[in-house]
């Protein structure tokens, strides 16, 4: 479905990614794991078009997308929920959700349907609908960020560190939800530092280190691998 082929990405002179190749198949949850600065966010930014790779190609459903701007890529169904949630602070929860439909022409009824769907996944958002984005807690903002991504009707949902800064109970809930969303037919590319939780819901994973893929395998194999456990899991004291 999505094929990233030997890409290099830069921030001006700084090389963010040296050589990343990965593949995401329809229906999968694929995790991108690695410590801070490994290049996980940069990979997502390059796929969603915020950055253009300086080498390599990105193919989606057989079509090159690595020169397209983000507004075009999101129209094709690749939806990037960025790190840090990035809720529009001055818009209400409902308006934030509606902004998620900006990637296509929608009728009022479709918008309402979309909101209904998000509310069945995140019922807590219901009573917050008219609150401004800035006033939400971290967990609420994360639900809203994922919900807003779902409003775009994604074929591939790319989530950048959805568990960051959340209380453990909420983290569990978020991962549970990601699995539910996937079961509804959405392919997920999940970036996380929380490797153990991610590997429990993912089908496959890639390990990134300083802008390179250092290992890829099924989630089950990686979970069972002691070397992986020590490099990833102990580095963050979670597990």
């Amino acid at each position: 479905m999505l094929k990233v082929h030997h890409i290099e990405s830069r921030y001006g002179e700084v090389v963010g990614l040296h050589d990343i190749s990965l593949e995401v198949n329809e229906g999968e949850i694929v995790a991108l794991l690695g410590v801070n600065g490994a290049g996980k966010s940069t990979t997502l930014k390059t796929i969603s078009g915020l950055l253009h790779p300086t080498k390599g190609t990105i193919e989606y459903l057989g079509e090159r997308i690595d020169r397209l701007p983000p507004e075009t890529i999101v129209r094709k169904g690749i939806v990037h929920v960025p790190e840090g949630r990035r809720i529009f602070p001055g818009l209400t929860v409902k308006e934030n959700l509606i902004m998620g439909t900006s990637n296509r022409k929608v009728s009022k009824a479709e918008v309402e349907q979309g909101i209904e769907r998000v509310l069945t996944i995140f019922p807590d958002l219901k009573r917050l609908m008219n609150q401004l984005g800035w006033s939400l807690s971290g967990g609420q903002q994360q639900m809203l960020a994922i919900g807003r991504g779902l409003m775009a009707n994604p074929k591939i949902l790319m989530l950048d560190e959805p568990s960051l800064g959340l209380a453990p109970v909420i983290v569990k809930q978020v991962f549970q939800t990601i699995r539910e969303i996937n079961e509804q037919g959405v392919t997920v590319l999940l970036v996380e530092q929380n490797a153990s939780m991610s590997l429990r819901i993912a089908h496959r994973a890639y390990l990134l280190e300083t802008g390179r893929v250092v290992r890829t395998d099924t989630a089950a194999n990686l979970l069972a691998d002691d070397a992986v456990r020590t490099t990833l899991l102990t580095a963050h004291g979670r597990g």
């Binding site: 529009f88 818009l91 900006s102 775009a152």
Partner: protein, 292 residues
């Protein structure tokens, strides 16, 4: 009674500043730069209006609407030619600012070439006689200014609060990167913000033209006063721009009458300086004094 007359005059003058200040603030909140040519679009629209209504004998209302739209089109072209080429410079505040100052000079000279140096007159739809409202004598044009401004503000409020496009423009102003990720065409939103801002400036120019003369420099003074109004209002909110504009209009009208008519134009700048020293965030806003 004189106080009420002055208040009406102050509100009318202030409405003009408020419309132009709205233009400053909308552009500033959207793209974080000050468009120093904002005032000149009042001049541009006033000249269009003279051509359409006085020279081409179009009906007043039609000429009015077309001139406002043309001011918006001019603003669209302005951002294309002046803002777009420099917007991606690193630390773009200064390059963009200088470009807009250049754009302002260009517009003034372009219209000097097109219309010549002799001031033109745009008649009011109303007579130049004051009307008597229960002992208060006011110019009907002043009432028109106040009413049209009030309607415009209500329309803007509806647009930004009730339409998806208005929300997309706000989203773009609040977080352009995320807006792009949602599929919002932020370049188009910014172009639209410029066009809307210059149309508002144009509206102000057409409304005020019958009170003054139409000259190529009429926009400079209006722009400066509206800039002061934006600072007073905090440079970040619609509410601030409106209240700032009305405040400057009222202060200069009363100051010009009770303190010194000769220094009428100075009051706005005295207020501006006082605000920059004692309240740089304005009444409602964030600190912009470091940028200007």
């Amino acid at each position: 009674m004189q106080v009420i007359q002055l208040l009406v005059t102050g509100l009318a003058v202030g409405s003009i500043y408020a419309l132009v200040a709205l233009g400053f603030v909308l552009v500033y909140t959207a793209v974080n730069v000050v468009n120093f040519a904002q005032g000149d679009f009042s001049m541009v629209a006033a000249f269009f209006m003279v051509s359409l209504v006085v020279s081409a004998h179009l009906p007043y209302a039609l000429g009015f609407v077309v001139s406002v739209i043309l001011a918006g089109v001019a603003g669209y072209l302005f951002q294309l030619g002046v803002y777009q080429p420099v917007k991606n410079r690193p630390r773009n505040f200064l390059p963009v600012m200088i470009a807009t100052v250049g754009g302002s000079i260009f517009l003034q000279h372009l219209f000097l070439i097109l219309y010549g140096p002799v001031p033109l007159q745009l008649p009011s739809v109303f007579s130049q006689q004051t009307v008597d409202l229960g002992g208060v004598h006011v110019y009907p044009q002043y009432l028109l200014i106040i009413v049209v401004t009030a309607v415009m503000v209500a329309l803007l409020n509806w647009f930004f609060e009730r339409t998806k496009l208005g929300k997309q423009m706000q989203a773009t102003a609040q977080d352009p990167t995320t807006a792009r990720l949602m599929g919002i065409n932020t370049a188009r939103m910014n172009a639209l913000t410029f066009a809307l801002s210059t149309a508002l400036g144009g509206l102000a120019g057409i409304l005020v033209a019958p009170v003054y003369m139409v000259t190529t420099t009429m926009g400079s003074l209006i722009g400066l006063k509206a800039f002061a109004a934006s600072i007073v209002g905090g440079f970040s909110s619609v509410k601030g721009a409106i209240i700032g504009g009305l405040a400057i209009g009222i202060i200069e009208t009363f100051g010009g009458t009770y303190i010194s008519g000769a220094y009428r134009d100075a009051f706005a700048f005295i207020v501006l300086v006082l605000f920059l020293i004692f309240r740089p965030y304005g009444l409602f806003g964030e600190k912009v004094s470091q940028k200007v």
